[in-house]
Amino acid sequence: MYRVALRMLMGDTTKYIALVFGLAFSTMLIVQQGSVFTGLMGRTAAKIDSIPQADIWVMDPATRYFDERKPIEDTAVLRVRGVPGVDWAEPVFFGMGTARMPDKTFASVLIVGVDRASRLGLADRFESGSPDAINQPDAILWDHLNLPIYQQVKVGTVMEINDRRAQVVAIASAPRTINSNPVVYTTYNRALAYAPGERKRLAYVLVKTKPGEDPQVVARRIRDVTGLGAKSRDEFFWDTVKFFLKSTGIGINFGLTVLLGFIVGVAVAGQTFYTFTVENTKNFAALKAMGLGRWTLIGMVLLQATVVGVLGWGLGVGGAAIFGLNITDRSVIAYHMTPQLMAISFAASVFTVLLAGGVSARRVLKIEPAIVFR
């Protein structure tokens, strides 16, 4: 009879497609919006993620997340290097500046100053020019973030950053962050020259632990020995993500969209499936009259709901995956599809199926078989 149940379900192609697509749409909305959300959240800490060589980030003890930089003294690098378990420690500068563009407009830029030798913190890809040219006088590397207004800057462009001359020697391409400011890479010392005069200007010290050392243990040691703040890369990454989640409302806003997708999906799929059952009332009544038992009936309805659920979920996840096919960590659209999202959407589909199937099965059980004579 389960085969009969499937034939009943799939026999009416139009309704069957409407059922499956109702759930597929809901799943796609959940996964797609969820992926945009996780993509955006990932971008809040993209700079941390983009320097995988650093196991520990050292900072001012009051720093809560990446963009909240309270500079520390340059000597911090030397103090950190002396802590047991530290393999190497390098300075990195992050700060904001104002660049005068070739078209005479101004752009607020993120200045990243990296160590001349290690170049830790530099972008990992270059569209044109050479990163080796960073050591030339006034050299900067420009990341336009794929935003057309910043693509007027080419290799060879001369501009001013905070009223100081800068010449573009390469066009860089790094994973995008939550901010839409173009990024200027230069040497640490030149970055200090661009930055407004402050007594302390070192943003972070990047630390590699010695082999076999636990980054969290070494970070604690750095905190104890230097009095500075120190967090493992994962810890700093998640602190940054959590800060944005709590303080910006992104989580709630996207959560609402995902919830809306879920509600729409449950409503559409549930209603369509229930209507399908209602339209088959007489068929189910005839089957009951002919002696079909209640458990077989429940099984038939749940099988129908499960098939719709699994197909709808698969198509929805597939659709969401296609949506993200050409989106990378350098794209304007933030998109990061995770296994957790698929698990959540699967759970949502299971919930929808159980709800729709349960309500429908309840109705089928309540059908009076005598209606076949009316």
Partner: protein, 247 residues
């Protein structure tokens, strides 16, 4: 001397009401009826007299408020719903006025449903379904959907479905109501051929006087009671046709 045939259906003082309070309507007011093995009992009467209600109670789809309904000596009112479902599955076939074929299944699958419900292996069920469809003259229409068939053909599928499980009691509700005279006659000939077996009993609710000649007895209902039960008018030609069909 003709042997006395055993009662298949025995209804005693069956009463049934629907609704509550002022809206309460008593549909059956003490029905007494018996149907015997090997006969077709026609149940006739004006609309609203309780024919279909009586049929649903005999089939175990509804319970009477008072009185008793026995099938082969089994009291239906003492069975719970699950037991009645099992009983129907094993013993009763149905032919509905509106056919109640599942539109998304093929003719072959529709006719096989009672066997599939009994968990008969699919291939066996479909083979027997095909044989039954052949008997009702629907060879070559196995894979059609019911929607592609005429009303008469659909009713023949419904009859094939009702008979494929070889039920001992066949319950038919207005089986010829939607059919023209010629098609209705064909349908009744099939039912007649089935009913000739001594272990079968057929109860047919009908308004269609053209098919009275196919019955053995006619029970007339009025206002919720059986008013009379009389032998049906028979013709030699009907009998002989039925015998030919049986062979």
């Amino acid at each position: 001397m003709e042997a006395v045939k055993p009662n298949v259906v025995s209804v005693r003082n069956a009463q049934k009401s629907f609704g509550e309070g002022n809206a309460r309507i008593q549909v059956l007011r003490g029905v007494e009826m018996e149907a015997q093995a090997g006969e077709i009992m026609l149940l006739v009467g004006p609309s609203g007299c309780g024919k279909t209600t009586l049929l649903t109670i005999v089939a175990g789809l509804l319970s009477s408020d008072t009185g008793s309904v026995e099938l082969w000596g089994h009291k239906m009112e003492t069975m719970n719903e699950a037991r009645r479902t099992d009983f129907r599955r094993a013993n009763i076939g149905f032919v509905f006025q509106q056919f109640n074929l599942i539109p998304t299944l093929s003719v072959l699958e529709n006719a096989a449903i009672p066997l599939l419900i009994r968990s008969t292996p699919r291939k066996t069920a479909l083979d027997r379904s095909a044989a039954m469809l052949d008997k009702v003259g629907l060879s070559g229409r196995y894979e059609d959907r019911p929607g592609k068939l005429s009303g008469g053909q659909q009713q023949r599928v419904a009859i094939a479905r009702a008979l494929v499980g070889e039920p001992k009691l066949l319950i038919c509700d207005e089986p010829t109501a939607s059919l023209d005279g010629e098609t209705g006659a064909k349908v009744m000939e099939i039912l007649r051929a089935n009913a000739l077996r001594d272990d079968r009993c057929t109860i047919v609710v009908t308004h269609d006087h053209r098919i009275f000649k196919y019955g053995d007895r006619i029970a007339t209902m009025r206002d919720g009671v059986i008013e009379s039960i009389v032998p049906a008018p028979q013709t030699a030609s009907v009998r002989s046709l039925a015998l030919v069909a049986k062979e």
